[in-house]
Every structure is written in structure tokens, then in C-alpha cells.
């Protein structure tokens, strides 16, 4: 028995991608094997480690605990979609670099996606908020201190960048 096969469209990092997968294909494997996006890492494959976290319609979810066919038509953001079109690091990515928030980097894609969404709901986190935000992600290198620092730094950078955007808008006369 091979099970049913399904043609589906995933809007991955704002690009619609079509593929055909067996029903049992996990979203994590679909992204990596069918769509060639290997930035999403697969650690424990049962929802404990958080390495495979992606955003589904902007909400962090474990891609190893989703069937690809189940999210047909939905918007998926992977780590490949975080940087700007010109390759400029996102605020969270820049903060990880600034604070040395990674060593081997295996867990990093899951942290980056989780924190990117987390800062939208909690734009001015305390250190406790930061720990709660990353409570579902395992890192075996850093001991988390630098990751917590990176969350706080990312919030700072996000504020600074939105300030720059606002300043630029004022300079260009778009807003008074």
C-alpha cells in the first residue's frame, strides 16, 4: 500500500511552489526534499527540539508535526525567507551574529523563526519573556545565555530599524 498522493501548492517565502507528495510526507521533509529548501533542520522529528520550526501564516509551528498536504495553500516562512531581498540580515539574524547566539548552528533556523514571530507579539521583551519565547527550542552548544541576549538585542534592532523607516518617511515627505 502506497497511500494517497496529493498535488499541492505551498506559498513558501512568498513564492507559490507546486509539488506532488504522498499523504504521509511531513512538511519538514517536503521543504527539504521536494522543494530543496534545506535551511529548515530536522532534529528529533517528534516535536521536542524545535529545530524544524517554521511560520505557518505567520505563526510558529513544528514542521515535523505537520503533514505537507494538511497545509496546502498556506503561507510558509522558513529561515531562507528571513533576510531582505538584497541579503541584508533580518534584525533577529543580525542580533544572533552580534551576540554570538549560535555555535554549531544546527538549532538556529528554529530559533530564528520562533523569535521573529515572538517579537511581533512581544516587541519589548524582558529576559523572562525571552526565555519563555524560546522555551520550546533546544540548543546544546550555547547554554542559552547568548540566545536570550540576542532576543533582547533583536528587539532593540527592530525598534531602531522601524525608527529609521519612520525617519526616512519623514525625510521623503511621505509623512509630516
Amino acid at each position: 500500500m502506497t497511500g494517497s498522493w496529493h498535488e499541492l501548492t505551498l506559498i513558501v517565502n512568498e513564492v507559490p511552489l507546486r509539488t506532488t507528495v504522498p499523504a504521509r510526507r511531513l512538511l519538514s521533509d517536503c521543504l527539504r526534499h521536494d522543494l530543496g529548501l534545506t535551511g529548515t533542520h530536522v532534529g528529533c522529528e517528534h516535536g521536542v527540539c524545535g529545530a524544524c520550526t517554521v511560520l505557518v501564516d505567520g505563526v510558529p509551528m513544528r514542521s515535523c508535526l505537520l503533514l505537507a498536504v494538511s497545509v496546502d495553500g498556506q503561507a510558509i516562512t522558513t529561515v531562507e525567507g528571513l533576510a531582505g531581498p538584497d541579503g541584508e540580515l533580518s534584525a533577529v539574524q543580525q542580533a544572533f551574529q552580534d551576540c554570538h547566539g549560535l555555535q554549531c548552528g544546527f538549532c538556529t533556523p528554529g530559533f530564528l523563526t520562533t523569535i521573529t514571530a515572538g517579537l511581533i507579539g512581544c516587541p519589548d521583551p524582558t529576559a523572562d519573556d525571552a526565555r519563555e519565547m524560546i522555551g520550546g527550542n533546544l540548543c546544546r552548544c550555547t547554554g542559552y545565555l547568548n540566545i536570550v541576549a540576542a532576543v533582547l538585542r533583536a528587539a532593540e534592532l527592530t525598534r531602531a530599524r522601524s525608527g529609521e523607516v519612520a525617519d526616512a518617511a519623514v525625510d521623503s515627505g511621505q509623512v509630516p
Partner: protein, 305 residues
């Protein structure tokens, strides 16, 4: 770590789903959030021939609050129920317990009804449903029936649902007047299954003395356990010595040992956590009665660990 092959169906209407379930019967498994089912499939502890995905049935995605309690549709995510301001007001125990369900990322996808139907004895929401005396509404081609929480959990991972039935709704009764609730659990790591967890409900009389004290337990028995602790603390003031509750509870449980905790340690936790939630719930009840007056300045000892 990959699921075995299965056929996948994704109905968009409730009656279509119920017909399909009736047709496919014992070979089918319902997929809601899948945060417990997908690991079971990946580890091949379960290998259904058909998976019936209910994620597109919009009419099951609701949280509705009334004076009598909170109704939660089969597609309402834990996170949605946790954030729902109406649910918080009608039954504050829900958000207190949901904050302990796995991690936020899991709660974004996992559903409360799915967790209850999964009937894991280490899960929070089955114990909450039992303590509050809630119910599950199930539908099949034969019609609808309402199953009381006390009759719903038959054993570990085993519920009273028939193979042809879909659980469509959970009902959590409202907080009774002059009452308070609290939830506490101990786990080895943040977000892990609890070694022991306790939900408490206390009702006070007009003199702020305890008239009802009950607690619901997870991870101490094969199905959620509810103990009536009223005899131990009845008539005592809300801020008096309530430790007899923990004593009664730890004598009443018969936990199993496993790799996470010995039976003795679990029994010890039952006593300690019972006292925390009973004290916490009693203080909340007092605050409810006095309207944030005299008791507001009082600490809430151990309402959360």
C-alpha cells in the same frame, strides 16, 4: 521516524466528515492539531489506513462563552482558548492550565478537544475537564450524544468515543459563585509532561470559610483523578492552615513509578501541590467575594510554582 502510508481525506463540512468516519470506521483516525498523533505516526506506534483531516471544517473552530460555561470546538487551538478573554472571565482555570500545556509553538497547532480525546493521563486538559465536571459532545451517523467527563476516560490513551464518532465540542462549566481555582505542576524540564500536576477548586461561604475543596490530578493514575478534599478543610478560614488537604490527597493516591519519578516522590508531590493549589484557589475565592478588598494585599502562596 516517518509515518507509514495512509490515505488522506480532508472534508470541508461537518456532515461530510461524519459520513466519512462512519464509512471508514475502525481503519480511520481523525487528525486535528496532530501534535500528539504525528509523533505516534512517525514512531509507527499507530498506523491507520485512513487519516481524516478536520482542519478545514471552519464550523468546528470556535470558543463560545456563556453564563453556564465555555464551549470549545474541535478545531479551537490551545493558544486561541488560552488567549480568549471571555473564557478567562468565565472559567479562569482554563488559561492557567493551558499555560502549562507543552510549549507555545505546540499550543499554536494543538487543539484542546484533541488533547482530551487523546486521553493521555499526563495531559492537563483532561484533568481540568474532570475536575470541573465538564462533558464532550460526540457526533456520528447515528446522531449526537453528550458524554460526561467522569465517563469519558477509560484508560491511558483510551476514551469512551466510538470508532464512528467525532468529538465536536468540549464543555467546561463556569466558575461557581464564591469560588476560586489554581493550577500547579512539576516537570523535569520546562514544557515537558508533568511528573505530577494538580488543578484545585475551592468554594467559600459568606464568612470566607471553606465549604467545598476539590482537586483534579494528572500523571498520578491511569485516568484523570478527582478527589473531594472538603472533609479535610471544611469550615476553615481561607487563610488558615489548609495542609490537611495535602495529607488527605497523598494518602488517597496510588501512583505508579516510572523513569521520571518513584511512586513515593509522586505521592509527596501530590501532597505539596495539593496544598499549593488549595491555598491559591481559596485566596482567589476570597478575593472574588470581597471584590479585591481586604484580601488583595495578601500573597497568593504557591498559586503557580
Amino acid at each position: 521516524m516517518k509515518p507509514s502510508a495512509f490515505d488522506y481525506r480532508r472534508p470541508e463540512q461537518l456532515d461530510e466528515a461524519i459520513d466519512l468516519l462512519g464509512e471508514l470506521g475502525p481503519d480511520a483516525k481523525v487528525l486535528a492539531g496532530g501534535q500528539s498523533l504525528l509523533p505516534l505516526l512517525s514512531m509507527r506506534l499507530a498506523a491507520p489506513k485512513h487519516l481524516l483531516d478536520i482542519n478545514r471544517i471552519a464550523q468546528l473552530d470556535f470558543v463560545s462563552c456563556g453564563a453556564d460555561g465555555v464551549r470549545v470546538g474541535a478545531l479551537a487551538r490551545h493558544a486561541a482558548l488560552e488567549r480568549d478573554a471571555g473564557a478567562r472571565a468565565v472559567q479562569p482555570l482554563l488559561s492557567a492550565a493551558l499555560a502549562m500545556v507543552a510549549h507555545p509553538t505546540i499550543r499554536n497547532r494543538g487543539t484542546t478537544v484533541g488533547s482530551i480525546v487523546h486521553a493521555d493521563p499526563a495531559a492537563e486538559m483532561p484533568a481540568v475537564l474532570c475536575l470541573l465536571g465538564g462533558s464532550i459532545t460526540a457526533m456520528s451517523t447515528n446522531g449526537q450524544r453528550i458524554i460526561c467527563a467522569s465517563e469519558f476516560f477509560l484508560g491511558p490513551l483510551e476514551s469512551a468515543l466510538w470508532e464512528s464518532e467525532l468529538a465536536v465540542e468540549a464543555f467546561f462549566p463556569a466558575l461557581p459563585p464564591q469560588s476560586g481555582t489554581a493550577f500547579a505542576e512539576i516537570s523535569r524540564r520546562h514544557g515537558d509532561y508533568a511528573v505530577c500536576g494538580v488543578a484545585g477548586l475551592v468554594t467559600l461561604d459568606d464568612d470566607l470559610r471553606i465549604s467545598v475543596a476539590r482537586a483534579g490530578y494528572l500523571s498520578v493514575s491511569a485516568t484523570p483523578l478527582v478527589l473531594d478534599l472538603t472533609d479535610a478543610v471544611s469550615g476553615r478560614t481561607f487563610d488558615g492552615d489548609l495542609s490537611a488537604a495535602g495529607g488527605l490527597a497523598s494518602a488517597a493516591v496510588d501512583p505508579e513509578p516510572d523513569i521520571h519519578a518513584t511512586a513515593d516522590y509522586r505521592r509527596h508531590l501530590v501532597g505539596v501541590l495539593t496544598n499549593r493549589v488549595i491555598v491559591g484557589a481559596a485566596h482567589r475565592a476570597a478575593r472574588e467575594i470581597t471584590g479585591n478588598g481586604a484580601t488583595q494585599a495578601l500573597p497568593m502562596p504557591g498559586a503557580q510554582p
